[in-house]
């Protein structure tokens, strides 16, 4: 018999979180959360750390409307986990204010002066490079889940007791 397989994805408005059956030990050891649930709970573009290893992070946020502009001394990556999200890029005229030693992205006061590099429209499962020392901003027509491969910085929020199974 041939079977038609259905791949199960989830979204900010439709997710089915798993869990832990404990036998011995502490459930908190598994730091168990869900990127869609986290995105749904917090303000647009409030990045919440869902995984952390030394200084490195995976962060999840809700993309909705236009974000502020950000930059970072190193590469980061963003993945659209459900709905369409635009990423806009600017090559800044002046990058001398970026401290090479500073990890993590930070917010710019305004849209920076520079050359518009273009945009990438991400759909579910698409990953974009956020190149080092480039300004970027997001735009999404409706709430969508955006996940970052990043480093702990000014924009990273840790809310473990609120997001993890206990």
């Amino acid at each position: 018999m041939s079977v038609e397989y259905k791949t199960t994805f989830a979204s900010i408005d439709n997710f089915n979180k798993g869990g832990v059956q404990m036998i011995a030990g502490n459930i908190k050891d598994y730091v168990f959360s869900n990127v869609y649930e986290v995105a749904s709970k917090y303000a647009p573009y409030e990045r919440v750390v869902v995984a952390k290893n030394l200084v490195y992070t995976i962060e999840s946020c809700k993309a909705e409307g236009e974000s502020p502009w950000y930059t970072c001394s190193h590469d980061e990556f963003a993945i659209a986990f459900d709905y369409d999200i635009e990423v806009h890029y600017i090559k800044m005229d002046d990058t001398s204010f970026i401290d090479d030693e500073k990890d993590g992205s930070f917010r710019l006061d305004d849209k920076p002066a520079g050359q518009y590099m273009g945009k990438i429209t991400l759909s579910r499962g698409h990953q974009a490079l956020l190149p080092e020392k480039t300004a970027y901003s997001f735009k999404s027509a409706k709430p969508a889940t955006l996940v970052f491969q990043a480093i702990l910085g000014d924009e990273s929020n840790e809310k473990w007791p609120e997001i993890c199974l206990t």
């Binding site: 059956q21 404990m22 649930e37 990556f77 050359q115 991400l122 490079l129 996940v147 993890c164």
Partner: protein, 324 residues
């Protein structure tokens, strides 16, 4: 004392023995026999070869690769322990555990030769059960192509000019039978003139839907020492991976059940059910084995910092990902 070792007739089967240190490895039509000074340990050959494939492909990996609850390797990064029962409470308590340390290169050479000789034509130890032949029977050709695949390792990001290429029909990666419904579109990149090479994106889910192997993470993007290592999973992770550092999982599609046991004693600790969007951390003192009922997409997230190796050596590596 009575000789309890199995009678393996290489003349009849055509396989070779592989001695290393005080171990000797033998196979017949159905089983692998691991002889060591205190006795002989037996495993089904299919499970043995699938585990051996990972241990070889991952260069003994991070921490312990338990082929089952008794036999395995423990990586000390440059040298490696080969053990029977050293991570099993009953063996240890009854003083039946046996372990020998080897330079990594020496053991790897023997493992590679064993994998090549014992893998027969049509059997692919990396593939899902329904996508491969069987490991049973006498020596019948080999499958060097399947066992020598190189995993894709991006330097910055998959698909950037000069970096590892995106999987496609043209490059020999077709969409897996379980992922026929996965959207294959690529992101719409609208670069201004002159910036075509500077902004970049690709469809990670589509990339994963085209994975030939199961339970074999590749690297798609690199943020300093942070390595995004997604993989496609089906059936059983052929090893119980014993962590020497924490390891994070982000389940992308479908569902995986993780059986968690104590790293040292092998006693059961927990069972995790991870569904799309779930994130969990494997503590540094456990072993884990995944069951994936349907082919699923999983992001394994690794940290390659040399700092972690230092912390393992001086015993200060954190046991859990986050304390809260």
């Amino acid at each position: 004392m009575t000789d309890l070792t199995a009678a393996v007739n290489n003349e009849q089967t055509g396989y070779q023995d592989f001695p290393v240190g005080s171990f000797n490895f033998r196979r017949d039509e159905y089983f692998a026999y691991i002889d060591y000074p205190d006795g002989e340990y037996v495993m089904p050959i299919d499970a043995y070869l699938k585990a051996l494939m990972r241990d070889v492909a991952w260069g003994f990996f991070y921490g312990t690769v338990n082929f089952d609850s008794v036999f395995g390797t423990m990586n000390h990064y440059g040298n490696v322990d080969l053990f029977i029962g050293s991570h099993n409470e009953e063996y240890i308590n009854n003083d039946k555990d046996f372990m020998e340390n080897f330079p990594s290169e020496e053991l790897m050479e023997v493992f590679q030769a064993m994998l090549a000789d014992w893998t027969i034509e049509g059997f692919d130890p990396f593939a899902a059960p329904q996508e491969t032949g069987t490991a049973w029977g006498p020596k019948n050709g080999n499958n060097d192509e399947a066992i020598s695949r190189k995993r894709q390792v991006a330097q910055r990001m998959i698909g950037i000019p000069g970096d590892t290429e995106i999987r496609s029909d043209e490059t020999g990666y077709t969409v897996n039978r379980h992922f026929q419904d996965v959207d294959q579109s690529q992101p719409v990149v609208e670069a201004e003139p002159g910036f075509e090479d500077q902004i970049h994106g690709f469809n990670l889910w589509a990339h994963l839907s085209r994975s030939v192997e199961t339970w074999n993470p590749s690297i798609v993007s690199v943020c300093k020492q942070s390595l995004l290592c997604p993989t496609s999973e089906e059936f059983i992770l052929p090893v119980e991976h014993g962590n020497d550092r924490v390891e994070w999982f982000v389940q992308v599609s479908d569902e995986i059940i993780w059986e968690i046991k104590d790293g040292k004693s092998s006693k059961p600790r927990a069972s995790l059910v991870m569904r799309a969007g779930d994130v969990a951390c494997m503590p540094a003192d456990i072993r884990h084995q995944g069951f994936s009922p349907k082919r699923s997409m999983l992001v394994v997230w690794e940290n390659g910092s040399p700092e972690i190796l230092e912390k393992i050596k001086n015993g200060t590596v954190p046991r859990v990902g986050v304390e809260f």
